[in-house]
């Protein structure tokens, strides 16, 4: 299972890539596999405020519709419009072209609550 070392993770299977105060968010390899074929991504709105641990958008697969929880609090500054045309990017390239949205971080200290790659690895192996 691919778990890039340079990313942070949540218990709810989102990944976080940090560039200063700009944060990119997507779902993990494990999450896309569990969901199976993604058929629709309801993106958050640009400029929308999101709170840590609260639902920010929805990913729909043939199996289920799942909330995506914002790993951190902030304002949505970009959304991946490509997913509107090709939601399967979430399956094909979850850590790359399948990214979902960017936020500008508002609470620096929340970063400390995230999991690193090792911790996330342990988490999904407990589940399996």
């Amino acid at each position: 299972m691919d778990i890039p070392r340079d990313l942070k993770y949540t218990k709810t299977h989102e990944w976080i890539k940090r560039d200063g105060t700009r944060i990119r968010i997507g779902i993990t390899e494990y999450a896309q596999k569990e969901l199976s074929d993604v058929v629709f991504v309801e993106l958050p709105k640009l400029g929308q405020d999101v709170l840590q641990g609260r639902a920010a958008c929805v990913v729909e697969s043939v199996k289920a519709a799942s909330d995506i929880y914002s790993p951190l609090s902030g304002k949505v500054v970009a959304v991946n419009k490509d997913l509107e045309l090709d939601p399967a990017l979430v399956n094909k390239d979850p850590y790359g072209r399948g990214w979902i949205f960017d936020i500008s971080l508002s609470k620096q200290e929340e970063i400390n609550s995230l999991l690193d790659a090792n911790q996330y690895d342990t988490l999904i192996h407990q589940k399996a």
């Binding site: 074929d37 058929v39 629709f40 729909e60 043939v62 199996k63 289920a64 939601p87 399967a88």
Partner: protein, 494 residues
């Protein structure tokens, strides 16, 4: 040994539009003497058609064969055993149909003066009394058009109740993680925030967590009893007490009432608001889009908020009465899905109270019989005495790459409608089986044989299961493509 039937039906898969040829006619209208009604003079030109509609042109026998053949591809409770968990696909006695077709019910209009529709109003009035008695509630509205509509009605009642009591800040609705998907959806649709509580190791609501999340922001706790694992929530009385102490209301999703008739009443368990699925428990053909009917019953404190109008009986006359000024208003045109209401009334009256109790007993007996036999070859994660349904898992078969969905498809080859699969979400590879009370033991035995045979196939020849069904006109459709690129209307080739 049960023999898998070979394919008995062949059909060209053309759409009716593809069978169309210009100039063919299904019915011949007179060429002359068709007089314009003059109605179109009142329609503004911007709303008038400029070109005739694109309709298929086929002969009458072609139409008859097209739809008859389509209907032969169908699998329903009139042709096959239909153990669809949480949906109560019981057999619908024909006498209910006969009664719903009586001219005095079928050929009247809801805008007729009430003194010309006394029979129908009496039926609705009495149906409300029967449902109230069966559920231990004070009154019912018959308006909601289906279960989810009933849930929405329930959420509106919850808000109206709290608002009246100055508790507008109660914005959270609690649901168990085993709940029907419509429960959180209805709550969210009406603007409530949804809080999920996990199930405990016995498959029941975890009281410890519930105790922590129930507070002065809680509007309501939505539950199904028995729950979607088919297990009776045996701590419902203390749960109701706790919910009420914290100022919340208790909502009953009636999808599983088929286990309870004449045995236990939601009102006595402490529920304040109840929706029923008349089309399930009270026997109307459903599936494939309805119509359904989702009456909502309430306790005394909530009657004043019920939708308007309600049916009253005054001085020997049945009338429609606008209810109190606190009413949430009208939810549906006229009186709800009236045909379903008539069938439910006929069902209740023909079964009688002893018959209804017997139905629930038989439903529970059948489910436990199947659970016991099927658990020899399949995992049953919460293998406890169940009510009218139980949830097995294909986890064991999964080791050979066979999924619950494959087993469901293979059952079609054996002549059974598949059970509900992948629900509830808390059971991996779930197969949710509800036999209902209407099946003879012979059918149950055949179903057990088929399930055990499929388990053996999964072990020895998994491919036959993974590629099922083998006996239908259409096998596996491309669900992913259908969801990603839905084409919902016929598109003529250019």
């Amino acid at each position: 040994m049960y023999q898998v039937p070979t394919q008995s039906l062949t059909m060209d898969e053309k759409l009716i539009f593809e069978k169309s040829k210009p100039g063919k006619e299904g019915c011949s209208l007179p060429r002359e003497g068709m007089v314009s009604s003059g109605l179109e003079s009142g329609i503004p030109p911007s709303l008038k058609r400029t070109a005739p509609p694109v309709l298929p042109e086929v002969s009458e026998p072609e139409i008859v064969r097209h739809f008859t053949n389509l209907s032969r591809c169908n699998m329903g409770v009139d042709t096959n055993f239909y153990p669809l968990g949480s949906c109560t696909m019981k057999y619908n006695p024909r006498v209910n149909e006969t009664i719903a077709q009586l001219s005095g019910f079928r050929d009247i209009h809801p805008l007729q003066p009430a003194d010309t529709t006394q029979g129908m109003l009496k039926l609705l009035y009495e149906l409300e009394r029967h449902l109230s008695l069966i559920c231990g509630m004070e009154r019912f509205t018959l308006q909601p058009a289906a279960g989810a509509h009933g849930e929405l009605c329930g959420m509106m009642l919850v808000r109206a109740y709290h608002k009246k009591h100055g508790n507008g800040k109660r914005k959270k609705v609690i649901v168990p993680d085993s709940s029907h998907g419509t429960n959180p959806a209805s709550a969210a649709l009406f603007g409530f925030e949804v809080v999920v509580v996990p199930s405990n190791e016995r498959g029941r609501v975890d009281r410890g967590t519930l105790d922590r999340v129930l507070n002065d922001e809680t509007a309501c706790l939505m539950m199904t009893n028995p729950n979607t694992l088919g297990l009776f929530e045996d701590e419902i009385v203390p749960i109701a007490k706790l919910t009420h102490e914290r100022g919340g209301l208790l909502y009953y999703d009636g999808a599983n009432l088929n286990a309870c008739l004449g045995k236990v009443r939601p009102g006595d368990m402490g529920f304040d608001i109840v929706h029923l699925n008349l089309h399930k428990t009270f026997s109307t053909p459903h599936g494939g889009g309805g119509p359904g009917s989702g009456p909502v019953g309430v306790s005394k404190e909530i009657v004043r908020f019920l939708p308007s109008p309600l049916i009253a009986f005054n001085k020997g006359c049945y009338t429609l009465e606008d209810s109190s000024p606190d009413s949430i208003g009208r939810l549906k045109l006229f009186h709800g899905n009236i045909g379903v209401l008539v069938r439910a009334y006929a069902y209740i009256r023909s079964m009688g109270s002893a018959g209804l109790a017997q139905a629930s007993e038989d439903a529970v007996l059948s489910a436990n019989y199947l659970r016991n036999k099927i658990s020899k070859a399949y995992d049953v994660p919460y293998n406890d005495f169940c009510m009218h349904e139980f949830v097995a898992s294909a986890a064991r078969q999964n080791l050979k790459g066979v999924h619950a969905g494959d087993i469901a498809k293979r059952l079609i080859d054996y002549g059974f409608h598949p059970p509900t699969v992948y629900f509830p979400l808390i059971v991996k590879e779930a197969l949710m089986i509800e036999p209902t009370e209407t099946e003879p033991k012979e059918t149950l035995e055949r179903f057990i044989e088929a399930m055990l045979a499929i388990a053996k196939e999964a072990e020895e020849n998994p491919d036959i299961v993974k590629k099922a069904p083998h006996t239908t006109v259409v096998g596996r459709c491309d669900e992913v493509l259908a969801a990603r690129e839905p084409t919902l209307c016929y598109q003529a080739p250019k």
